[in-house]
């Protein structure tokens, strides 16, 4: 048992912390207000090896472990939660499943440039009528000769406007439930693929989110990712890992709000002393710090279990649930510490609050995490 970071992990943490403090945090408010995609920041993140952190060197990635991924995700998200989700989608939702399922001849085209950050990937699972219930898929894929023809609509696709490629899930038989779902690699610009308008979101506004429309969109049959009918397996395995990324993003948001509240509480005075010296505020800070520590331990444990190739489904669900709810709670408290100043865009905590909310929703809502956890916990308790 050992709770310390190794040298490489510490180095990544420090480097990302500097990037977050120097380049991301100072601009995050502007990007948020203007819905501006942080092109330059993403390029820098790519140069630093942050777009394929846990993908092996030989495949174009950085070759670090999943714990390092979680640590870097937290630091980047502390600076800018939108940068965090852009990074998370490329790492967890695109590169990770492509790395696990792509055939050798697919890897040079569909993995290496994405793991290096030269190109950006996205993940298209959710539809307007189904999110957490992925087995209710409506988008269809029909084999015609050596092509698949895709028809349907995908919703809430992060990175939709900037992505060069998508993993798209579609069913070959709507009546067959999740067993008929397969995963496909689709390049941006493929005829028959179009994007809806950018969603006007509450938070993470520097990242793009849009619907995708497939109208007789033809892709080469060799773009199948994994086996036919394996899509559900691809998706579920991906989400287990993705939850670590979102947990880390939530942690970063919570940490940013906590630090802002802590520093503000030492400056702002009421009744003749800094508000940090009023127990009502000091105790909030204590609880923020404790809950962040809890979420961090759960997140790091999930990442470490993934690195150890152990079963980490329950651990990542717990990490995602705890971190997301911590982020929401901490950011709410942070606004309270700031009072009126917390309610205006001059200070960053209202953005943290808006950014936090999505972590309770995407990559499996808190309710879905609780279903996963309850199943595992009930079984263990009776063992």
């Amino acid at each position: 048992m050992d709770f310390t970071l190794n040298e490489e992990q510490q180095m990544f943490k420090d480097t990302c912390a500097s990037l977050a403090d120097d380049m991301l945090a100072p601009k995050a408010g502007e990007w948020d207000q203007g819905h501006i995609y942080p092109t330059e920041a993403v390029a820098t993140m790519a140069e630093m090896g942050l777009m394929g952190v846990a993908i092996p060197d030989a495949e174009g990635g950085t070759g670090a472990d999943n714990l390092t991924y979680a640590i870097t995700m937290e630091e980047i998200s502390r600076g800018c939660a939108s940068c965090g989700v852009i990074m998370s989608v490329n790492n967890s939702l695109y590169c990770d499943p492509v790395h696990r399922f792509a055939r050798p001849e697919q890897r040079a085209e569909w993995l290496a440039p994405y793991a290096s950050g030269e190109k950006l990937g996205a993940f298209a699972l959710t539809e307007p009528g189904n999110g957490s219930d992925a087995a209710a898929m409506r988008t269809t894929a029909e084999l015609e000769g050596d092509e698949y023809v895709l028809n349907g609509t995908k919703a809430w696709i992060t990175n939709a406007y900037e992505a060069d490629a998508f993993i798209v899930f579609a069913t070959t038989d709507r009546s067959a439930g999740h067993r008929a779902v397969s995963a496909f690699l689709v390049a941006t610009g493929t005829p028959g693929l179009s994007l809806g308008k950018k969603e006007d979101k509450l938070g993470i506004r520097a990242s793009s989110t849009a619907q995708m429309f497939f109208e007789n969109c033809r892709i080469p049959a060799v773009n199948l990712l994994g086996e036919i009918g394996e899509g559900f397996k691809v998706a579920m395995g991906t989400l287990d890992g993705g939850r670590i990324g979102i947990a880390a993003q939530a942690l970063g948001i919570a940490e940013a709000a906590f630090r802002a509240a802590r520093d503000y509480s030492l400056e702002r005075k009421t009744f003749g002393k800094p508000i940090a010296e009023h127990q009502a505020i000091a105790f909030k800070l204590a609880d923020m710090a404790t809950r962040i520590e809890v979420a961090r331990l759960l997140t790091h444990q999930a990442a470490q279990l993934k690195d150890a190739k152990a079963d980490y489904g329950k651990a990542s669900a717990m990490a995602k649930l705890a971190a997301a709810e911590t982020a929401m709670w901490v950011t709410t408290q942070a606004i309270q510490v700031f009072g009126g100043n917390g309610y205006v865009t001059e200070y960053p905590v209202e953005r943290h609050f808006r950014d936090a909310k999505i972590t309770e929703i995407y990559e499996g809502t808190s309710e879905v995490q609780r279903i996963v956890i309850a199943r595992a916990v009930l079984e263990e308790a009776l063992r």
């Binding site: 048992m1 105790f283 710090a289 809890v294 331990l297 705890a322 279903i371 916990v377």
Partner: protein, 381 residues
């Protein structure tokens, strides 16, 4: 970073779990109902090496360290929270003496604390009727008289007090927090008066009494460490003790979860077992997540302590989170039982009562928050 237990640690957990299930659990309900101290378990606990886990082998302990201690204590607490606190206070007292006492005093005191001789254990006397969390305000005095000290004062909430072979007493030899010294006082010292047992709402199998010291004369060699470091000894002991209470809370929480899971399997409502109702499943998910969080906080604090690193903040986080998570767990688990949770036919009723004190003793939740907030404010840029 590595969160996994070593083979050795896993073996200890398995051994403790088996011991707890076979030896500790069977009498737990009886001890609660009759407020009986687990005298008959002291010997068996000692045989397992569970009384001197934080004491070096050279002083008669099993020297297993805090991680193992926390793991074992959680297993004992899952079976019986009263036995767990009895064990915890003994370990805490023994650890403080092992860390600070002279070689001669260690040789005199520690073997009996580690082997649970005559079914007796160690006790730790810091709180007084007028001060608990604000320990530096204590009034008990120790006055030097030639080769002896004479102790006078009142101590309150002394766990194991009526069954103590030795009591570690904090008493004033000067002014302020630097004027406190620690003394090992034999449990049968003349003038050490054991007051009436407290009628507690929970942990009824553990013993809690006030102690009055009336001209208790102890030789100067019974002073633990130098004069004036008593407060330091107490605070250091409490850092370690907080891991113990975190561990106890984890054990109680786990017991509540198990009771809830069992009940949810057998009881039906609206044509299906309770475990198929989402509202209750979600309660279980939250208990499970809270307990996993508790376990990690506990292991981190314990691991830092074993490495001799600073862990005051981690110990406080562990204690406050564990105890509050435990209280949420027993509350949800009782709710799951409905009316049956409110009567003594089911163990959850006892667990609910046992849980409550974890938010109070060894530093209330409020004190932990004071400690944590001070620490985090120090980290401000």
């Amino acid at each position: 970073m590595n969160f996994e237990l070593s083979d050795e640690q896993q073996m200890l957990v398995d051994m403790a779990r088996q011991f707890a299930a076979q030896t500790v659990a069977p009498g737990a309900e009886h001890r609660d109902q009759t407020s009986s101290f687990p005298s008959d378990l002291i010997g068996p606990l000692a045989e397992q090496g569970f009384l001197g886990m934080l004491v070096p082998e050279s002083d008669g302990g099993s020297e297993m360290g805090y991680v193992n201690y926390a793991l074992a204590l959680a297993e004992i607490a899952q079976a019986c929270a009263s036995t767990a606190v009895t064990m915890a206070v003994n370990n805490l007292t023994a650890s403080a003496i092992a860390t600070y006492a002279s070689e001669g005093l260690r040789a005199e005191v520690l073997p009996s604390l580690c082997d649970g001789r005559d079914g007796k254990v160690g006790a730790f006397a810091l709180s007084e009727p007028h001060c608990g969390s604000d320990a530096a305000a204590l009034k008990t005095r120790a006055e030097r008289d030639g080769e002896d000290y004479i102790l006078n004062g009142s101590k309150q909430w002394i766990t194991n007090g009526a069954f103590a072979s030795w009591v570690l007493v904090m008493a004033r030899t000067g002014e302020g927090s630097r004027g406190i010294s620690a003394f090992a006082v034999p449990g049968d010292a003349p003038g050490l008066i054991i007051g009436p047992e407290e009628k507690k709402m929970g942990l009824k199998g553990s013993n809690t009494v006030p102690l009055t010291l009336e001209n208790v004369r102890v030789p100067a060699r019974y002073r633990v460490g130098d004069e004036g470091i008593g407060f330091q000894i107490a605070m250091n002991a409490l850092d370690g003790g907080r891991i113990g209470i975190g561990s106890q809370a984890l054990g109680i929480g786990r017991a509540a979860l198990r009771e809830a899971a069992r009940y949810m399997e057998e009881r039906k409502a609206f044509g299906k077992p309770l475990n198929r109702h989402q509202a209750l499943q979600f309660m279980v998910a939250d208990i499970g997540t809270d307990l996993e969080a508790t376990r990690l906080l506990m292991l981190k604090a314990a691991s830092l302590r074993d490495q001799g690193k600073p862990m005051t903040q981690e110990a406080s986080m562990c204690k406050v989170y564990a105890s509050e998570a435990c209280c949420r767990a027993v509350d949800s688990a009782l709710q799951i039982h409905g009316g049956y949770g409110y009567v003594q036919d089911y163990a959850i009723e006892r667990l609910y009562r046992d849980a409550r004190v974890t938010r109070i003793y060894e530093g209330t939740s409020e004190i932990q928050r004071v400690v944590i907030s001070r620490n985090v404010l120090k980290g401000a840029s």
